[in-house]
Amino acid sequence: MRLRCDSARCNGCKACELACSAAHAGEFSPARSRIRIHFDALIGKAGIDFCHSCGKAPCVRACTYGACTRDEELGTIKIDYASCVACYACVEACPFGADFVDPVEHVPLICDGCGGDPTCAKFCPTRAITVAR
């Protein structure tokens, strides 16, 4: 499972950020979401930072503590927060800028695919975010 985002269809409503943080962190806080929208309201263009679940997975390679691994079943990245020491090596390794730092718990945030049914895709009103199997 991986996310597909079409920034041309994005209208910058930030519903995905709010839904993501609500589902994972229990509060509406874009700074704690695992997908980020950079929308320029003056020219109406969006950029979406999201986990591509890429094949090389530099975040997994960068992790020296074995906390960041690939979920073989889903193909997404998962972090074992019990063994994560918050060195942010994965955050720096991500070539898509899709690995974030939680401002409250100070741990790295990577899209975990919500168990195969991403909340952001459910709430995207323009279907800019879709799921590719």
Binding site: N11, G12, F28, S29, L42, P125
Partner: protein, 319 residues
């Protein structure tokens, strides 16, 4: 927020007021009513200006990101309130505030930066006199206020025109009652907002289910209802396509909101796209409300407008 003494103080929102007045507009009026003085005119430094958001701002509830801005109208001195869309309301909530009360008058042009339980006073000397979009872009490009949502006034508000608007996100305007002039009279060019906090609700899974049900599959597939094409922009958590950005061929400006099309088409029969886009662009930059009369007048002086808008000092966006 006292601009005269450059001091910010915090006070809790009384619970009984929250219950009694509920939303942004009611609370804004309540705070205005507090300490109201007949002797104080709308453009006097002592006069208050209140920015308030409702209890649902910052959540996923559609159309919740509306900020009520209330002050005494410079036009007639009466209470005036208008709602500003965009992302300002949500950002204020994420910054940890329910509202801002601004009083006093700054000695030099200032803009406020509101972030994570902290408010700073910034110099706006270089922004003074610029168009609304240009100032917004300049604030968003500063390192300290990077990508903040901005409520800003154009030259119209600085010159204390009694109808001046305040602008957010390029073309979400609160106006027609002169809120821009109230801000201008305080030497306040802009309020920039950026928060990293969050908003909690009591029952999150139930809340999300309810919203999903409310949006519904049918509503999502209704093409006329949502902003979806490139160039359309939505307010935070409200995907309704009420705004449209011109493609830049006619003028280099964001233009044409639903209300303007209505005004220009139905009221003053100005539906000639280059003309009314230019006219609206002028209104957006300077902060004049796009009322039918203004649009009509602007349409009659279109050559002057074209020259003004292509002039570099008035350009709203570049590149």
């Amino acid at each position: 927020m006292d601009l005269t003494h450059r001091k910010a103080s915090e006070e809790p929102l009384p619970v009984e007021w929250q219950i009694e007045y509920l939303g942004g507009r009611g609370l804004a009026y309540r705070y205005l009513l507090d300490g109201l003085n007949r002797e104080v005119g709308p453009l006097d430094p002592e006069c208050k200006m209140v920015l308030m958001v409702g209890p649902l701002a910052g959540t996923l509830v559609p159309t919740s990101s509306w900020m009520a801005v209330a002050a005494q109208s410079p036009a007639n001195g009466k209470f005036a309130c208008d709602m500003v869309g965009g992302g300002a309301a949500a950002e204020l909530k994420f910054a940890g505030y329910d509202g801002i009360i601004i009083s006093g008058k700054a000695a030099v042009p200032t803009f406020l930066y509101v972030t994570d339980q902290r408010i700073t006073f910034e110099r706006a000397n270089t922004l003074w006199g610029t168009g609304a979009q240009e100032a917004e872009r300049a604030i968003q490009e500063k390192k300290w206020t990077y990508r903040a949502r901005v409520l800003v006034i154009g030259p119209d508000g600085e010159k204390l025109a009694p109808s001046a608007c305040l602008t957010s996100d390029g073309r979400r305007q609160g106006g027609k009652v002169g809120l821009g002039a109230v801000m201008g009279s305080k030497n306040l060019k802009a309020v920039a907002l950026r928060g990293h906090g969050g908003v909690r609700v009591a029952d999150m899974p139930g809340f999300l289910d309810f919203i999903l049900e409310y949006w519904g599959e049918g509503a999502r597939e209704n093409r006329g209802r949502w902003a979806r094409a490139e160039g359309e922009a939505a307010c935070v958590s409200c995907p309704t396509g009420c705004g449209y950005l011109s493609d830049g061929e006619v003028s280099d400006f964001p233009a044409n909101e639903a209300a303007t099309i209505w005004d220009s088409l139905a009221v003053c029969r100005l539906w000639r796209p280059p003309l009314d886009i230019l006219a609206e662009a002028f209104c957006r930059v300077t902060g004049v409300p796009t009322t039918p009369e203004v649009l009509r007048q602007a349409g009659e002086r279109i050559e002057t407008l074209e020259r003004l808008l292509t002039d570099s000092t008035m350009a709203g966006r570049r590149g």
